[in-house]
């Protein structure tokens, strides 16, 4: 085992010795308190406990009492740990993953982001019947990719209660970047409530978890800042729509404890490093509902992979990670000091936190949380704006936009408006945009709500460039447009206005066709859209070097597109990865034949 790792990531003798020292720390993990992939010394070959090394892995799913944030909780556990152990496979292996259900309800595991045969994808009702209580299901598939992924239950709302874990695949060949040490950072949102009661609260009482609603005080503050007319106009528009501009997250820190590697901010899980080392952080958003903004004050991060796929390095100060996305970043701390890994929930209602430090027991300053932002015009949709009376729009832009965060303003003036004329001139022979071109109405140059692009360098989708072009360079043969739709008041979520229970039959992809999927977000919330079984090449304007992803964040009112090579025959799930949106109906089956 040690030797195979040495080939992939050469370890110095010094590091191996350090890893040996970590064995002492390992005894706490051996008690089953925490997954040991969350080992402070990172993944070293001498510290394998709690990491399930492939190609053959057995996983037992239970429901058991475990302390979370020091309080009694009853999560789902995988081999006694919640979130579950890290599964480590190697590109080129034939994986054999045996999952035994020791629950009194059916369960499943989906290997998020893996390209595999349809029967092995782990979605009950689409790939297989699910795993009945007492049964073992054996997943077998060839591992033909590498990078940072994760796995989770695809049954009911189990994923909310810790039924998830990291899945890392070591590359067969040298990766395009080097590092001395790696850590997995798995972000999750834990609730002590029953997930079904969370769902019921969302269904029966709009804004149940939002304790950052606008109040009369916000109104007067806006009047002071922007004047009565502009404030009244903006508030009037939102009131007329019967929506809340503060609806950034449906489920918030009022019930969630945000966890990093299973630890609350107070528990301050620590990842260790030696000054001068280059550390790879494999960041996974395994949350049910929460987007995070991740930064390490004092350290520049270099993004080197997105959704497991290598990208050309992007130095950033902060990145937003949508639900189910993964990013690999490199950091190179020069000083013998502690750094805070700060993952702030997008609605600013809480944060997950860990410390990157040369020794245990250290802590750095925790940044202040930002104030919740109000959604602005951009949430009302690019298409709506086209039809909108221009005078009215200008009026709002003059008054309200001034105080609004800068990203919002740019969305209106630049990508939507200017983008349209730029991109429309780049049509191909079929009258479609050329492969890789950004759709009018996309906002790839913006990170999204609540971000001040002036404050620090933030990763945006436009930055993502594939390391080398992906193999299928065909122009799309056809376009398929889907609208992301919802009824906030009823908490109904859907594609093209129809919940899964209301549609008749799957979305059809022709076998081996090159297809452009256009996603238009008609709602006022972000949706992380996940396609199983095939990559989506995000047309972020990078031409030949468009990146490929398994999960695409579509911002409110945005129109994004992806190229798909429909080479995976069979039936696949396609859905919003916000757990309660999916359960409320934002789910489709894609059939490739």
């Amino acid at each position: 085992m040690a030797s195979s790792r040495v080939i992939t990531h050469p370890l110095s003798r010094r590091q191996i010795l350090k890893g040996g020292a970590a064995l002492g720390l390992g005894s706490a993990a051996a008690l089953g308190l925490r997954p040991s992939w969350a080992d402070p010394w990172g993944q070293t070959s001498v510290y394998a406990k709690g990491v399930e090394e492939g190609p053959e892995v057995s996983l037992a799913i239970r429901r058991e009492s475990i302390l979370i944030d020091g309080k009694k909780a009853r999560p789902f556990s995988i081999n006694g740990e919640s979130p579950g152990p890290m599964i480590r496979l190697k590109e080129g292996q034939d994986a054999v993953l045996r999952v035994t259900n020791l629950l009194d309800e059916p369960t499943s595991i989906h290997w998020h982001g893996l390209i595999l045969p349809p029967g092995m994808d782990g979605v009950p009702g689409v790939s297989f019947p699910g795993i009945a209580p007492g049964e073992t299901f054996t997943y077998r598939f060839p591992v033909r990719q590498n990078g940072t992924y994760w796995y989770h239950s695809h049954s009911g709302l189990q994923e909310q209660l810790g039924h998830a874990g990291p899945l890392v695949i070591d590359a067969a060949e040298r990766e395009p970047f080097r590092y001395d040490r790696e850590h997995v950072l798995l972000l999750t949102d834990w609730t002590f409530e029953d997930p079904m009661s969370v769902f019921r609260n969302l269904k029966t009482a709009e804004g149940y978890y939002n304790f950052q609603e606008r109040t009369i005080a916000d109104f007067f503050a806006d009047v002071r800042e922007k004047g009565l007319a502009a404030t009244a106009e903006m508030r009037g528009m939102w009131a007329k729509m019967r929506m809340s501009s503060r609806d950034i997250a449906d489920v918030t820190g009022s019930t969630y404890t945000y966890l990093l590697n299973g630890h609350s901010p107070e528990e301050n899980w620590t990842a260790l490093f030696r000054a001068g080392e280059r550390v790879r952080l494999r960041v996974i958003n395994g949350s049910a509902m929460s987007y995070f903004d991740v930064r390490i004050p004092g350290l520049k991060m270099t993004v080197v992979a997105a959704d497991g796929q290598p990208v050309q390095p992007v130095p950033v100060d902060e990145f937003r990670i949508g639900v189910a996305e993964t990013y690999d970043v490199l950091v190179a701390p020069e000083d013998d000091t502690a750094y805070t890994i700060f993952a702030e929930a997008m609605d600013r209602s809480g944060y997950a936190r860990a410390t990157l430090a040369p020794r245990e027991g250290m802590a750095a300053e925790i940044p202040e949380r930002r104030k919740i932002a109000d959604r602005g015009m951009e949430a009302m949709g690019a298409h709506d704006m086209e039809g909108m009376d221009h005078a009215e729009m200008e009026g709002v832009a003059d008054g309200d936009m001034e105080g609004m965060d800068h990203s919002t303003m740019e969305g209106m003036d630049h990508s939507n408006m200017q983008g349209m004329s730029d991109e429309r001139s780049r049509m191909n022979a079929n009258g479609m945009l050329a492969a890789g071109a950004a759709q009018p109405g996309s906002r790839y140059d913006q990170a999204g709500i609540g971000i001040d692009p002036e404050a620090r360098r933030m990763l945006v989708y436009r930055d993502l460039k594939a390391f080398t072009p992906w193999p299928d360079r065909r122009e799309p043969e056809r376009e398929l447009e889907l609208h992301l739709t919802g009824n906030m008041e009823r908490y109904m979520w859907s594609f093209d206005g129809k919940k899964f229970s209301e549609v008749s039959g799957p979305i059809h992809f022709n076998k081996d066709e090159r297809l452009r999927l256009i996603l238009v977000n008609d709602t006022m919330m972000e949706h992380p859209i996940h396609l199983h079984g095939m990559w989506m090449e995000l047309e972020n304007g990078q031409g030949e070097l468009i990146p490929r992803k398994h999960t695409l964040n579509v911002k409110p009112g945005e129109r994004v597109s992806a190229l798909i090579t429909a080479d995976a025959e069979g039936s696949w799930a396609f859905h919003c990865h916000l757990l309660y949106h999916m359960d409320a109906g934002m789910f489709r089956v894609v059939k490739v034949s």
């Binding site: 079904m196 019921r200 950052q212 009369i216 005080a217 008041e489 039959g505 359960d583």
Partner: protein, 256 residues
């Protein structure tokens, strides 16, 4: 109260709910014995929007309730709604101003069309005049966020009446809210037993200040003013009741 009607109504509604949750299977590869990948969930909710003690200037003190509960899916639901009061110290039992069993269907993003049967009269006693009626209503939220409930009722005697309720929550802080509300009642014909005259019957406006201890439990205090008009006012005068009154209320909003 006509129990046969209630049973028939409830049966029809349940049948519709079952139909709406059937799994569309066309074109899927999944064998019939596999579960649907996404289950539909029926839910239930019960709300005492007002459960309050009212102290009027002129009339009798009373315990008032305004209750609604529903069961169903996103589109089809069964509602049970009731408003009523128990006037204190009049030696009579509580009275349902309305007790309604409704089928409700979502017809637009913010609107439900509702229809069913209702009962007005004593709770467990013959202290009050009784009648049953059919009701059609529209419940929803108008632009600018005012929660609205309009209902048209036709009694078993053929008497027609209508009511309009509107309520708005103004958020003062994350937990304090100010809630203006109004109720307007009109009738097509005079029904003396129920103190109802032809035309505009009454207008009632209120203002409540609530504090959400949790989303499900909010005690409040407030005041109201009401006035009766036309024949309705004459009937009230005839019985020696005030035609205009105002008062103080204290109560809780409870959600289950």
């Amino acid at each position: 109260m006509n129990t046969r009607n209630v049973r028939t109504g409830a049966g029809t509604v349940l049948a519709m709910l079952t139909l709406s949750t059937a799994y569309a299977e066309e074109g899927y590869d999944a064998p019939a014995d596999w579960p649907s990948p996404m289950a539909e969930h029926n839910m239930a909710m019960a709300l005492f929007d007002r459960l309050e003690y009212a102290v009027p200037d002129k009339g009798h003190e009373e315990l008032v309730w305004d209750f609604q509960a529903w069961y169903g899916g996103d589109v089809n639901r069964v509602y049970l709604k009731s408003e009523g009061e128990n006037v204190q110290g009049d030696g009579e039992d509580a009275e349902f101003e309305s007790l309604e069993l409704l089928y409700s269907r979502l017809i637009a993003d913010f609107w439900e069309l509702q229809g069913g049967i209702g009962y007005q009269g004593g709770v467990f006693s013959d202290d009050h005049a009784e009648r049953s009626y059919g009701v059609v209503g529209l419940q929803g939220v108008v632009p600018y966020g005012i929660e609205t409930d309009v209902a048209l009722r036709v009694s078993d005697e053929g008497d027609v009446s209508a009511s309009l309720e509107g309520e708005y929550d103004l958020r003062l802080t994350q937990r304090f809210y100010l809630q203006p509300r109004t109720e307007i009642a009109v009738a097509g014909s005079e029904v003396e037993e129920f103190g109802v005259g032809e035309g505009l019957n009454s207008v009632r406006v209120g203002m409540r200040l609530g504090y959400e201890v949790t989303r499900r439990f909010a005690p409040y205090v407030g005041g109201y003013w009401e006035k009766q008009y036309g024949d309705t006012a004459d009937l009230a005068r005839h019985h020696g009741d005030p035609t205009e009154d105002s008062g103080f209320v204290a109560g809780v909003r409870l959600m289950f």
